[in-house]
Symmetry: C2
Subunit: 237 residues, 2 copies
């Protein structure tokens, strides 16, 4: 549409004039939930909508970057001018992320399942008539943030993770920062009463080795622009 | 839009002229998947899109019926002129179905989860540091089709269930017909290679006490119209 066309012209001008802070940079972003198959028809999912991750991709492009977005199953349009790789499971997301390194900045905003089902059924699991339901044995998924954070040769200059918690937000975020060798953790409280998961607004805290910043509630688009602006400053510094 | 307006006028005329086979009838339809919560952010889901159930609701309305559609979480618009009740879990779906009886015809097209998690976590389940993933203990969900089929006083005159299977299609459908006291089972093979789950076409078999009819592949809208036409005949007969 006409707005998008006008934005593209303005961006090109800004890029040529050297006014875009992420010009020449590659930003790799993950977004959305993962779906972990149980059998051919069932899966484990989570309530992530992908809105925050997709907004980050749009903001990174607007700031001049080349952007790769690795997205789980979401009901969102692809952000314009961004390379989008669609995946289902955590294992597929890890492969896509590793394939698209190196990056100057990586922002792991997807809500990746911690666990998958240990042995995916080749056929639909049926009630066996015993009246005893099955137990789903789970196994740990690869940790994408930690894998990127501890990468031998391709760790991004700035690595940002997300922590969506319902309790002990800051403790969990600090521990995640260390264990996964991230630079920042964007922490948010996703208790159902906050309306953050699936909603358009977000209230986050930026946790780094130098402390915790509380940001006010704002739209996910504004959170995205602020993270990208801060990331661009950090690369310069 | 103008097509819908024209259809409404034609339907009103047909209704007044007594040409609509389900005039004065109440049809209750379920559609879509159910989501069974694991904790505040995770859930078990299935790949049902709700396309077949929603098409049935539209076809039943077009045939003159008053239609109630109880739908799990789907990304579909509500069918026009249909009362839509949105639910998440199998337990909520059962409550909504029981609340909206009596019905002349009930078509249980939803892919209801057989199991839910035995004890839903009040907080997001965390890795406990042991490296040992949790096992999800499941418990059986209420059986909506069987509950309606064995209802003391409000069993619909015609009760239709669906069986989505990846193997032993007809055996499973016949067994379901008996155990749940349904009149017909619409059976379809949802093995991933068929593309039926989430797709726009369907290949079904109508299993009743008098035998099995194989229907050719057709659109879900055509399957819906044919089921509704057959249901209207059965009520007359």
């Amino acid at each position: 549409d006409i707005v998008a066309a006008a934005e593209a012209v303005l961006r090109d001008e800004a890029l040529e004039a050297g006014r875009l802070p992420l010009a020449g940079r590659h930003v790799l972003i993950t977004s959305g939930p993962t779906h972990e198959p149980i059998d051919p028809v069932r899966y484990i999912a989570n309530r992530s909508s992908g809105k925050q991750g997709h907004a980050l991709a749009a903001a990174a492009y607007a700031a001049g970057a080349r952007v790769t977005l690795v997205s789980g199953p979401v009901d969102l349009p692809d952000p314009a001018n961004v390379e989008v790789i669609r995946v289902q499971s955590a294992a597929e997301m890890l492969t896509a992320v590793e394939t698209h390194l190196p990056a100057d900045i990586a922002i792991m905003a997807a809500a990746v399942a911690d666990w998958r089902v240990a042995s995916e059924g080749a056929q639909k699991i049926k009630k066996d008539g015993s009246g005893k339901p099955p137990a789903l044995q789970l196994t740990e998924n690869p940790d994408i943030l930690a894998t990127v954070g501890h990468h031998d040769s391709l760790r991004p200059e700035l690595l940002i993770g997300f922590a969506a918690e319902t309790q002990n937000l800051i403790d969990n975020a600090r521990s995640k920062l260390e264990r996964k060798n991230a630079d920042w953790i964007i922490a948010n409280d996703v208790s159902p009463q906050t309306g953050i998961m699936g909603g358009d607004a977000n209230t986050v805290r930026l946790v780094s080795r130098s402390g915790v910043e509380d940001w006010p509630e704002m739209s996910k688009a504004d959170v995205a622009r602020r993270i990208i602006a801060r990331a661009a400053e950090a690369l310069k510094g």
